[in-house]
Symmetry: D2
């Protein structure tokens, strides 16, 4: 995803992953392309699969650790339309991880030809099930290489 980034030897390892999905008919609109809000849902898919690849399940974060990560800031830049039945690659990268805040970056591409369809980012706060701010449990912070900036947007 950022193989061409020159990196210093002591720089933190990039935390990123990718997942694939298939465009559903329900996600298209009368322009014949994917309706734009669906990319936001695909970001969610990418984020959750990145967590899974790191050994965590978001449902467990919620149920066992009472730790929820609602989105407080969302940005999407649409580059090219996604089409019905396209196989889509969502690449997700952990940006910033702090005890109170998570930042993810996304690239959405068509699998068949690699066309970049959109880029985006989301910022999340950490709350409990009463929406009170709380801290990301240590096990996650550790896995996320936290407190330091991990990737530059």
């Amino acid at each position: 995803m950022s193989a061409d980034d020159p990196k210093m030897a002591d720089e933190p390892k990039e935390i990123s992953g990718e997942t694939k999905l298939r465009v559903r008919y329900a996600e298209t609109d009368k322009m014949g392309v994917v309706y734009h809000s669906n990319f936001v849902i695909w970001f969610e898919v990418g984020r959750v699969e990145l967590l899974r690849q790191l050994g965590f399940e978001y449902k467990t974060m919620e149920q066992q650790d009472n730790c929820h990560i609602p989105v407080v800031d969302l940005r999407v830049r649409y580059k090219s339309p996604a089409l019905y039945d396209d196989e889509i690659v969502v690449r997700t990268r952990l940006g910033n991880a702090r005890h109170s805040l998570l930042h993810f970056l996304y690239e959405v591409a068509r699998a068949s030809d690699g066309t970049l369809l959109a880029t985006g980012e989301t910022t999340h706060i950490i709350v409990d099930d009463k929406f009170q701010r709380c801290s990301l449990p240590e096990k996650y912070m550790k896995a996320f290489g936290g407190k330091r900036r991990i990737a530059n947007s």
Copy 2:
């Protein structure tokens, strides 16, 4: 909705209502019409507005009375496509109301020309927030004219 139904003097009053909504671009698909699962959401809108017209809020049913009505059976018959920006009328009628079960019937029409777009019905059980079967509180049963069959589908 069925004012022309001849009714016996002692027959229960029909419980029905209607509400309007506007087709969103997000609800269309690449066929240029509304994607069919959205009618199911419109049924929900119709049902909730019928409850409101009867003096109840479904959110209050859930929060104060711990009474939820998940759908256990759904049927939709699609007659004609709904189009982007159409103003839609959802007519909802209470079918059967029992302490353990509710039945609603729907007609979805285009407001501008009255074209019938779909008909449907949903059956709901009554459960608490742990999904355990429970009884519809008396105040609702009373308002719903319950235990008897109210309308024939």
Copy 3:
């Protein structure tokens, strides 16, 4: 899917397939389970993947053969709630295939424990891009073992 079904030698082969998907957070509702209209979208996923397993792409049916299959009748029976992050199996079976009509049957189950979550069926007419009734092209009829009843619901 039903390889263990004893069948008479002259009975038409069952046309069925299965596909998996993962429940998205976006698909849940405040009851903590999947909102019921999403099953209708999963039926679409099942149907399209069954076509793909038969060697067809629905997008090609639309683009090259000007053959669209809108739903005219939908039935869902909900058995048990689907939960966030559940891996879901959608089993789709071709019911009836005629030149003017297709009928599919569905079973939706939780992959981890096999719990049946819902069953359903959809009936589709064949139309062109102007929504005019037309015939299912021969190549599909052939693959679908058409004109005969293939499976009993």
Copy 4:
């Protein structure tokens, strides 16, 4: 919306409007609040209703003028959760209008108590039905007070 804004005589009139909608059960998620991508759809509702208040229908822009305005940039800042059955006010303001680009700004609030739930903005390019860049027809430019910056974000 901002009638109390003191304005210089020669300043362009602000182009803004507001519309209301009701939160649907389908729009909530298992956190018990509205899933964040739905705000993006509400922005669409706000935008289309602003156009209607200016005397235009977006469907007519598409059908008669072959003028489509896909989103190329989206930003949302979430301030407070939207709840089931909340009546929502979407305030939409035209930011920049040029022949090749439109910019809208949004405020989403709870009607009952005025709580600001989210702010956002979208940037749109003008394309024909083949996704080729084209110009916004003059009648829209005139109504939009185009070529000048109309409102500051």
